[in-house]
Symmetry: C2
DNA sequence: TTAAACTTTCAGAAATTTCTGAAAGAAATG
DNA sequence: CATTTCTTTCAGAAATTTCTGAAAGTTTAA
């Protein structure tokens, strides 16, 4: 109950959030009708919601032998789910922005004003692209490594300093 | 022009996005009227938009001597701006979720089903809290360090391994 | 084939968000 | 204090998003 209410903050609408929350909460495959009944949502709306959740790769269809209903359930560990949400959001929010910026940067500036502007847009572009690359690389890392990295927190700075010192020594 | 269209993907509405884009694009202080004229937006709407941007701490008011209009302009480097957007979004999206989760975790589970559920919610809570802490610590890091960290990408894994090996040797 | 048991689609209704413009506020000036 | 020049607020209009439920589609089985 509580949980569903926060749906809208996470990039999908309330119903979708509620459906997802329900599936996480009961942690067992449900039919579309079960979901609609549990949440008092129309059958059509459930269908849309599940479609959306499938496009986020957060929910999968499952079949029970001798039963022709579709059963839906969440997929993977909490860690996997979080990863998918972040990844999809990155795709949906940053990719179009990057494409747009790239297009603008390809245009030939008509005057020095436009050239200035391109300069500033390039900064933004490079920053976003850097973040994109970095985050997607981090997602390749094993959960354990990510965990130590996270525990390290800003202490990461010290490790980097240390590494730099070693490298400098080598190049002396 | 182009730029404003992507406004809605970033946590604020189209108008707010356009206003912000305009201010970044011209990179000089504008009055509310300038903005309204440039974007064909009603005066009231401009006022709302600027209020919102101020609440994101992306835009500041400035005064010119002998002129009683309010001039608005963006604040800080691209890096600062990006930082602020991320920070505000973290606040707006994750904080309420965390509070909610914490409240649920404080309730006493009525039966073993609820206890299971709490277990799963605790996982989510801990994960989110970890991410929150980590990202806010990363933001404390200097841009240069963050930059090397980002360039390192998944290579961070190797640095961590390296650090672990050193520590283990010490404790041998 | 036909029927039964499902799922999906989609037009329009309902809810929500955003925008406008007129009215009210605020601050500076004569 | 009256006026001018600006800003903010807010009720209702407009636009957009979400939801419903009936109709169409799909699959399996007899």
């Amino acid at each position: 109950m509580h949980f569903g209410e926060m749906g809208s903050r996470w990039g999908f609408n309330r119903t979708v959030g509620q459906i997802f929350a329900l599936l996480v909460a009961v942690d067992e495959p449900l039919t579309a009708n079960d979901i609609g009944d549990a949440l008092s949502i129309s059958r059509g709306n459930v269908s849309m919601g599940l479609k959306e959740l499938q496009s986020w790769r957060l929910v999968q269809v499952q079949h029970k032998p001798g039963d022709r209903k579709d059963y839906y359930h969440t997929t993977g560990s909490i860690w996997d789910l979080a990863n998918k949400v972040f990844e999809e959001r990155r795709k949906r929010e940053m990719d179009p922005t990057l494409t747009l910026l790239r297009d603008i940067l390809l245009e030939t500036p008509a005057n020095s004003r436009e050239q200035d502007l391109q300069g500033r847009l390039r900064e933004i572009h490079d920053l976003l692209e850097g973040i994109m690359k970095w985050t997607s690389e981090l997602q390749q890392l094993s959960p354990e490594k990510l965990n130590t990295l996270m525990k390290l927190g800003s202490g990461v700075g010290k490790v980097l300093d240390f590494k730099d010192r070693l490298l400098n020594k080598k190049s002396d």
